[in-house]
């Protein structure tokens, strides 16, 4: 078997295995047998004999048993167990390559590994492996074809392989954009890499945010368009506090069905100017839809969406994989208060007398509820220290009392809870809101990076018929990313946005931009152009046709040097006044040369060389080439 063919098989097998390994989902202990792939392919490349069939059969059976054991007891995941198995099988196959069909099995196995890797991780590294796989796979199956035809090595394959690979890239891109997007969700594998969300469930223990605030993993990347809004990514609201944890006891929500491709919550009279947030959410084990302020519409997959009385929006499923949705928010829109639910937001746990007294002290002299709330906010912001290092309260003391009167150190949950309790003690309905605040703007891609450490709690108080946001937490120190890290994140964002997050809406956008009535091109020298994109495609097609025609001429067999010299001689004679027709024979050419008193002897020798080569089957060498040149120069000089 040709060496190039064996090399391709080895590369493809390695590409498949590496694709799986870089997902980081496999267990190293199961990858150890896979290391046998290296000696296996070393033997293949050296042309050594394959291992005995019975050895391969026994080891294959053992591997199958290992998969069962892996699924049932070790990884507990059939998908991962099969991924482990493919790596071991690739190693086994490297010792069992006998026929071309064995090589094809390796190709198919590598393809399977790439597919599995795509399901296990959607990082850019897997994308990179896809590109490598495409090049090697296309090359390998072209080589397989020539191998099958027994003509491998008889023609140079560099050019066809290069052209086919480029064509494969182009058509893959086209089909990627064109294949209709859908999500059937008949069987889903649960992602084990999703970020464990804290603070977005129906019960949140006080202090649970602490660990999350040290986690710098990206939760979402958001492109924002429309009017600017403060970056408070609202998640859920909680109404009941028992002294140690917050709960959602209202549990009142309505299901909203999709209309016109959106879940629309607009109420009559609400402004139509919206801040649009395209949110690329990382796998996070919550069903909460995050958005700025009051979300009035959501564009997301699914049949329905839930919206509770506190304007919190939830998906019908937990989002354990990367997911993109669009949230529409009303700028500056204070959330309306529904009076029948305000009593829920006045609940206080027992033993809050000291807290109530403190609230009274702080708000003494306040002229309004808003003024009172602002005073509490300022008080907490200025008299307490932000720290993630909190000390547990002594026995019998609630965490909030300990925070307010003893430690005076805490993080957002402590501040927000304290403020809610103080407002409630003053008879102002208040609730705690968990979500994310801020984020890091990335100018490279014009989007905001929100991380787990941006998780935040703040307060909403019902003042003058509206829910007003207060944030009593002093700013926490946060490290900024370097410009290189921002650029890298921007590339990742593009990857997630245009490859991983490409969806049916993007397809519609592309389609509508192609079929749109007209497209305004960038202004050049003050001239603005409006062109129908369809025309651009037609023009591009015509240009391609012209290019192909030019190529056709370019690729037509080249004239040999003697023919070129003869034609040059004809042109020279014609230029000097000789009468030559296209049908003039070499003899007539010589006669004309004589008439023009050119060096006929040299011309005769040149014509003879041409005739010998062209019609006599004489093969001319490099010496003849030089002679042709000399003769032509001699003819021309005279």
């Amino acid at each position: 078997m040709p060496r190039s063919y064996r090399i391709m098989t080895a590369l493809l097998a390695l590409t498949g295995c590496i694709s799986l390994v870089i997902t980081g989902e496999l267990m190293p202990v199961f990858m150890i047998p896979g290391l046998a792939i290296f000696p296996g392919y070393y033997r293949v490349l050296k042309g050594l004999e394959p291992a005995p069939r019975w050895v391969i059969a026994v080891l294959s059976l053992l591997t199958a048993g290992l998969v069962a054991f892996d699924t049932l007891t070790v990884s507990g995941d059939f998908f991962i167990a099969v991924a482990h198995m493919t790596i071991i099988f690739q190693a086994l196959k490297s010792f069992d390559l006998r026929e071309p069909w064995d090589h094809l099995q390796v190709y198919f196995m590598s393809l399977l590994q790439l597919i599995m890797a795509s399901e296990l991780a959607i990082s850019m590294a897997v994308g990179g492996m896809f590109v490598v796989f495409l090049v090697i796979f296309v090359t390998a199956i072209v080589l397989s074809h020539f191998m099958k035809e027994d003509t491998l090595g008889s023609v140079s394959l560099k050019r066809p392989v290069a052209i086919i690979t480029l064509a494969a890239f182009a058509t893959t891109a086209i089909f990627f954009l064109a294949v209709p997007r859908a999500r059937g969700s008949i069987w889903q594998r649960k992602s084990s890499t999703s970020i464990r969300a804290v603070g977005f469930s129906d019960k949140v223990d006080l202090g649970s945010f602490g660990r999350a605030l040290e986690d710098s993993r990206v939760v979402m990347r958001v492109s924002i368009s429309g009017p600017k809004l403060p970056l408070y990514w609202r998640g859920i609201t909680l109404d009941y506090f028992d002294g140690y944890s917050w709960k959602d006891t209202m549990k009142r929500s309505v299901r909203v069905r999709k209309a016109g491709g959106k879940f629309d919550f607009h109420h009559p009279g609400s402004p139509r100017v919206e801040t649009i947030q395209k949110i690329h959410l990382e796998p996070i084990d919550t069903d909460v839809v995050f958005g700025l302020g009051e979300i009035v519409a959501v564009e997301a997959p699914g049949w329905y969406i839930s919206r509770d009385v506190a304007m919190g929006v939830k998906l019908p499923f937990k989002n354990d994989r990367r997911f993109t949705y669009t949230a529409y928010s009303i700028p500056g829109g204070d959330l309306g208060v529904r009076r029948r639910y305000t009593e829920y937001y006045l609940q206080l746990p027992a033993g809050m007398e000291r807290v109530a007294a403190l609230a009274k002290d702080i708000t003494a002299g306040a002229v309004s509820e808003h003024d009172a709330a602002r005073r509490i906010e300022d008080y907490l912001k200025t008299n307490y220290q932000y720290s993630l290092e909190t000390i547990p309260p002594p026995q019998g003391v609630t965490p909030i009392e300990y925070f307010l009167f003893d430690s005076k150190t805490g993080y957002c949950e402590h501040y927000a809870t304290s403020m809610v309790l103080m407002l409630r003690s003053l008879g102002i309905p208040a609730r705690i809101v968990n979500g994310f605040s801020g984020g890091e703007g990335n100018t490279d891609g014009d989007y905001v990076i929100v991380r787990q450490r941006d998780a935040h709690s703040w307060v909403e108080a019902a003042i003058e018929g509206k829910w007003v946001r207060f944030d009593p937490t002093p700013p926490a120190p946060k490290g900024a990313l370097s410009s290189f890290a921002l650029m890298y994140d921007s590339i990742r964002m593009s990857w997630y946005r245009y490859v991983v997050g490409f969806d049916a809406a993007d397809q519609r956008t592309i389609f509508s931009s192609v079929t749109a009535p007209s497209l305004t091109l960038p202004e050049i020298s003050g001239i603005s152009l409006h062109v129908r994109p369809v025309y651009l495609i037609v023009i591009a097609g015509l240009l391609i046709l012209v290019a192909m025609k030019c190529l056709a001429f370019g690729f037509s067999p080249k004239r040999s040097f003697e023919t070129a010299a003869y034609m040059k001689l004809r042109r020279t004679i014609a230029r000097r006044g000789g009468v030559l027709k296209p049908s003039s024979s070499p003899r007539e050419v010589l006669l004309e040369a004589g008439r023009l008193e050119m060096d006929v002897e040299s011309a005769y020798e040149l014509v003879r060389l041409y005739e010998d080569a062209r019609f006599g089957g004489v093969e001319l060498g490099s010496g003849d080439r030089a002679r042709c040149r000399e003769l032509f120069e001699a003819v021309v000089k005279k």
Binding site: L104, F108, L111, L114, I115, S118, E119, I122, V126, G127, F130, L134, F137, V138, I141, V142, S144, H145, F146, K148, E149, D150, T151, S154, V155, P160, I164, A167, A168, T171, T172, A173, I174, F175, F176, V179, R181, A182, R183, G184, S185, I186, W187, Q188, R189, P301, R321, V499, V500, G501, F502, M548, L551, A552, F555, S556, P557
Partner: protein, 337 residues
Amino acid sequence: MASRRMPMRLTREGKRFLIATVLLAFAAFNTGNNLIYLVLALMISIVVISIVSLILNTRGLSLDISLRGPVYAGQGADLEVSVSNSKRVLPSYSLRIHLPKGIEGRCTIAKVDPSSCASVECPVVLNKRGVYRWGDFTLESGFPFIFMTRAFRVRVEGAVVVYPGLVEVPDLNAYSGEGLASFTIRPGGGEELLSIREFRAGDDVRRVSWKATAKAQKLMVKELAEERPRSVNIILDDIAPFDGRAFERAVSYAASFAYKLLDEGYYVGLVTAAKRLPYGSGMEQLYKILDVLAVVRETESALTNFESDPSGTSVLVLKSAASPIKNIGADMVVYAS
């Protein structure tokens, strides 16, 4: 030359690849994972590239064939296959030429450059003697991958005469007690003295042996020897009772005897039920005999006289001992069965 395109055909690998593509489409739909859509796009693109490449690769091709030298049934011959590519830009790769029924062989051309022609000599075997009309050649390509093939049939006009296969034949000397020398020595105008005999009217006086005349006391002349090729008439048993297999063997024997004898310098004639070829020598006579033997068929009765020609040695090639012409008085009888 007429050509007819045939539908594209999926290979075994192609069927599996297509099944894998359908399964992957299901997986992509199920998961909504864009990276799986990406792999799906790659697989679809490979299918599309296969189809487009096959169409382009097999476009603008024409086929020409010719045979080198005489062709004997069941024996190797060189078939020269030329494929011309009239496309101006694109070369055609990996063209397989399937030969029509009755010709065994395999022919592959790795590349035909644009506006060019590529030839290849294919060793082929034509199994049956007779006039073989070329018929449909199939030009097939699977380039660039291994998943599909596309073919078109090319009807090639013309025919080739396939001579009977040559076999090892018994040495005719074994049949003749005196041996069957290729030349017979007869009185004539040679150089060597054959005998001295009494003068007859008409003898050239210059050949009178005066010494012998003196001894014998009558006019004696020298008779000179002349070497003449011996004539062998091959008689082929091609009449009833019919026995196809034995007949084919008999035809091969007859052809092989003719080949061997003519090669050794004999004058060889052929007698069949329908045709009598007079004696002749050399390659021209061989091909005359082979032409007759290429198309000879068994018949009910003879149109010619099978009786031995007294001017030459007759070799009767019989299908079996049951042949009605076994007693025609041939010098030698060879059984093909």
